[in-house]
Symmetry: C2
Subunit: 151 residues, 2 copies
DNA sequence: GCTTGACCTCAACTATGGTTTAACTATCAG
DNA sequence: CTGATAGTTAAACCATAGTTGAGGTCAAGC
């Protein structure tokens, strides 16, 4: 059984995984992607400082809001590097997501209203229907599944 | 220059692509995935009946609403197979997306409200914050990017 | 000192929604 | 009949967000 206590000392991947509820493979992936950082022991094992737990919490929460990792990484870059982030620091960068959420809600509402219209007229045709016309107000750029309904 | 007129006769992939604004590769992909169907000529080339254009329009529109192809395929299965779908048929299956959209809008609104609370208290911590707790009201099942914030 | 469990890296695989490329064939206009 | 254009297939590749497995190392308890 791994040591769950983590008093003022560093954590291993396993410990951070247990504390955060995030799989070790995911933590290594986040590190590879530059979202979290670690010190290495002489034997090349990861050691995480205590504020990494909050960092991981922020990442997971942001993902639940539908934010892609690349965007989360950018915003994490706004945290101060010279000191441990304070509650105000976290609150400040959390603000970044609000306008994003507002925007997505508005977009979905517009789409729903158009859909209601289009069900009424039964159109859903390429040239007549506003829903079918991407240039109208939405555009998904590039292939592959990325952010759905992004602006 | 391909024949853009398509009067009461069948269309090739290129023609359907031009009319629908969807790349030929995507149309072949949709066919492989069972979302559209075609007749084959003696030389193994695809020929699409005219109502396929509307089918493709429905697919693209649904994708713009954030519906995954697998779900779109299921709903397309509700169309009558013995006759060309009428406007009422299209309107009927379009209804399927409304509750889906409503649900997603409500989910995003809940998340936004929680976020506003959490910015206020600056928490975003694993055990205290409602946003960080997946079992609460949202759950993303399985790995990989699929529907974001689905229910 | 040895065994056990946890760690390391790298590569391959999952799923979604396609695009791109290679090698080959069909169809049509002149 | 020939050449251009458009079609065919399968396999490989893109991004996102990881997981899984192989093969090897580290650290701690006994």
């Amino acid at each position: 059984m791994p040591q769950l206590a983590w008093n003022a000392k560093e954590a291993t991947v396993g410990e951070l995984a247990e504390r955060s509820g995030v799989a070790p493979s995911a933590l290594r992936f986040y590190e590879r992607e530059g979202l979290i950082h670690s010190r290495r022991t002489s034997g090349n094992q990861r050691r995480y400082s205590r504020d990494t737990l909050r960092r991981v919490a922020f990442i997971r929460t942001s993902q639940r809001l539908g934010i892609p990792l690349a965007t989360i990484r950018e915003v994490l870059g706004l945290l101060p590097e010279d000191r441990t982030p304070t509650r105000e620091d976290w609150a400040r960068i959390s603000e970044c997501w609000r306008s994003d959420l507002d925007e997505r809600i508005r977009t979905l509402q517009r789409l729903r209203d158009h859909l209601t219209d289009c069900i009424g007229c039964g159109c859903l045709s390429l040239d007549r229907c506003r829903l079918s016309n991407p240039g109208d107000e939405l555009a998904d750029h590039g292939p592959g599944p990325r952010r759905l309904l992004e602006d």
